[in-house]
Amino acid sequence: MMINRLRLPLVVVAALVVQLSVLSGLRISGVHPELMLALAVSVGLVAGPARGATAGFFIGLVTDLFLVTPFGLSALTFTLVGFGSGLLQASVLRPSWWLPPVITLAASAAGVLLYAVIGATLGQRQMLHDGLAAIVAVVALANAVLAPIVMRVVGWAFPEGEASYGVPSSSYLQPGAGR
């Protein structure tokens, strides 16, 4: 049980390393994927809104340590995103394999927009610039592509899996599971 609790922090650190040393250099029209955001979404999907929000908060705090944007901004955004994706997942009646990528797409787009809007309200006006649409689109698509892998890893971090079907081990990866 104790070891299981260490799984999520381990996943967060691993994701941070991957983001900083690989994904930050992988740019599509100048924008890179945001793995930490995808991670917060996945925790919401796998473990429900409450744990999604809690994990999102801490993932955001850790992410903020490596950014020059206002400290706490990622924590606030990821909390909302983790909670929101948990709620979305809970409101869906039937599971299917395509649901995690689609929710990740929507939640990542919403996350980036929120991040920029909250940043702008805090006086960082430059965050709402012309390139914002490109950032939203690239991050949403790239995170949706990463979603199946991230879901598997997060499923490993929550072996007891709260949500009835969010756990990737069996149901959602099988085509036709939703029928």
């Binding site: 409450a50 705090l61 490596f66 206002p70 400290f71 965050m127």
Partner: protein
């Protein structure tokens, strides 16, 4: 159990966490958490930098593969241009091997015509920006080599930006093109002053506050003004005037500057151990 209770009240959890984040943002905005945050950043950077270096060294080929795939179109164009350039250089008998070129760029960095007499640290750029909302790069030297927050950074071309945070062996540099970056600049002789601010990646700098009675020439090289308490030393080249317009009855020139340093392709930079005079 606490876990069960927490599950039963997800909205309460959300509210508590939102209040916590809002408090953190407010306190850090007012500078009351600076000590804690900088300490945590320093510690986190130190803990992660060995793993980061090892992983990026091991995975560099993977990254370049995807980067290559993503930039295929521009690479093709670049390739054609380079092939042309190569043919031209061959004709001139000027084939310089890569290592020698690297040496040249380092030597050029050692013999800067500006910022003379200011002690400095030469460092390699090791990572690009970790945020989609900020123009930064990471360098492979940190506070253990004398790099400190606020220090100006230059390359062989000219001003690059300034250091915003450090750990023992790494530092983050805010580039001139970041919208938060502002540099005081001088035009002509006798100098007229302006402020050049960043407009985002690959965008020229925008200059404000230049007096309309002054004549701005296109192509002019513009250096830092280095006024008292400025963040940068005087006479470091910043950019070349790309466009200059003066609308009738305008109160200031509308000027854009192309940065002289190749900011999207930095390899080595020099951190000047310089602090503004109080």
């Amino acid at each position: 159990m606490a876990v069960t209770r927490r599950r039963a009240r997800p909205r309460f959890t959300l509210l508590v966490l939102l209040l916590a984040s809002a408090t953190i943002i407010t306190l850090s905005y007012r500078g009351q958490l600076d000590g804690v945050i900088n300490g945590a950043r320093h510690g986190a950077g130190n803990a992660l930098s060995p793993i980061q270096s090892a992983v990026s060294a091991a995975l560099r080929p993977v990254g370049s593969f995807f980067e290559g795939a993503a930039n295929y179109g521009s690479l093709q164009a670049q390739n054609a241009k380079l092939a042309q350039e190569n043919a031209r250089l061959r004709a001139q008998g000027l084939q310089v091997p890569a290592a020698e070129r690297q040496l040249h760029s380092l030597q050029a960095l050692q013999r800067l015509p500006y910022a003379e007499g200011i002690p400095s640290v030469t460092a390699e750029v090791v990572a690009q920006s970790s945020s989609n909302f900020a123009e930064t790069v990471d360098i492979g030297k940190g506070s253990s080599s004398g790099v400190g927050a606020g220090m100006p950074v230059v390359s062989a071309g000219g001003l690059v930006g300034s250091v915003v945070s450090t750990s023992d062996h790494r530092a983050t540099i805010l580039l001139l093109t970041d919208p938060k970056s502002e540099v005081g600049v001088n035009f002509g002789q006798p100098p007229t002053r302006g402020v050049a601010s960043g407009q985002g990646a690959n965008q020229p700098l925008q200059v404000s506050f230049v007096n309309p009675s002054f004549k701005v020439r296109k192509g002019e090289v513009v250096p830092t003004s280095g006024l008292q308490s400025s963040k940068f030393p005087p006479n470091v080249p910043v950019g070349r005037v790309r466009s200059a317009h003066l609308a009738p009855s305008a109160l200031q020139w509308d000027i854009t500057l192309a940065p002289l340093a190749d900011l999207s392709n930095l390899q080595y930079v020099r951190v000047l151990e310089w602090a503004p005079k109080p």
